[in-house]
Symmetry: C3
Subunit: 140 residues, 3 copies
């Protein structure tokens, strides 16, 4: 059994956002799967998806701070692809470091995350606009 | 055909560990799949999974050294989320850099890794405890 | 319905290469799937796969430059695993930072990438040789 749906996530500010509830409320069909895998795929090259701590918002602030440090915009002068500003090439790099897709097991009709896990959308652009995510579930 | 099972990996010391044999011995059901995909998902935010060199233990030492350099605990003063020590936020960051899940093809009843590939569990905490991994196999 | 095939990618120079067309032309069976997920898995520990910008070649140059900066070969003296040269351990590290496998949704017989997305093979070795990729498609 397979289910697929494209959803649109409203524009988010630059930084890291917990979207677990937004995914689940957009995909009630999860309930139809006893066992399965859910794949989330973001159709963009300057935003990314990861799984991390869901309870303390400071983790998201610290994470954004870290990625700005490790991919500094002050290095943008080293890059050729900066047509759209200092956050252009740096966003592509962050996207590859973090990744464009994640898989989450489904068990008894629910996504089977650990107690402290949530789904992050990482918006790397200053003005990224809305973002499209394809949800694909395979299971039974 | 789908198979899913949660396993518990015994506590490991901080660092990078080859767990290929531990996964296979916990999941004989791999043999039942002619073709498929196995997903390993770690239900934690301060440990991670990756695939890398399986033969020389120095790769695991060097890898741990690299991630300690690129996510230094001396930076912990920059972070807010350090309630549990210098290895708290840094472990979350490493978890996102490396990733919480991997997919491995199954071919003729065996995981189809390259000659030099093995499955790594990366324990980022000083005292991480046991770790839960969900194994999901989809195939035929 | 499941499809699996191992393909061989001809040797590439060190750096980052767009291989979307090479994957598609090697896997016409994508057309047989209305909905599905395609997994690409590279059977090596010193090359990697990611998804990023498909239009401007300077993104690939900048990306290579970034990963050489963040995993510098001048650090190789810190590592034990350098039997095959300065690009040995650094290649393993890059492989884990970027990842060995990606999943791409399939919709109506085509891979459903965003407008600006393409598949990158990242060759981290100076002389990497040909690379094997396993394509697994699950869907209907």
């Amino acid at each position: 059994m397979i289910f697929q749906k494209e959803i649109t996530i409203k524009p988010k500010s630059r930084g890291i956002h917990l979207i677990t509830d937004e995914i689940i409320s957009n995909c009630r069909e999860i309930n139809n799967f006893k066992y399965g895998l859910m794949n989330l795929f973001i159709k963009h090259t300057s935003a990314s998806l990861t799984i991390n701590e869901n309870a303390d918002p400071t983790v998201r602030y610290d994470m954004e701070k870290y990625f700005n440090k490790i991919v500094p915009e002050s290095d943008a002068k080293l890059y050729q692809h900066t047509y759209e500003g200092l956050d252009d090439m740096t966003s592509h790099i962050k996207s590859t470091l973090i990744g464009t897709n994640i898989n989450i097991p489904i068990t008894n009709g629910k996504i089977n995350l650990g107690t402290w896990q949530g789904i992050y959308l990482c918006e790397h652009r200053n003005y990224g606009g809305s973002r499209k995510i394809i949800i694909t579930i395979i299971g039974e």
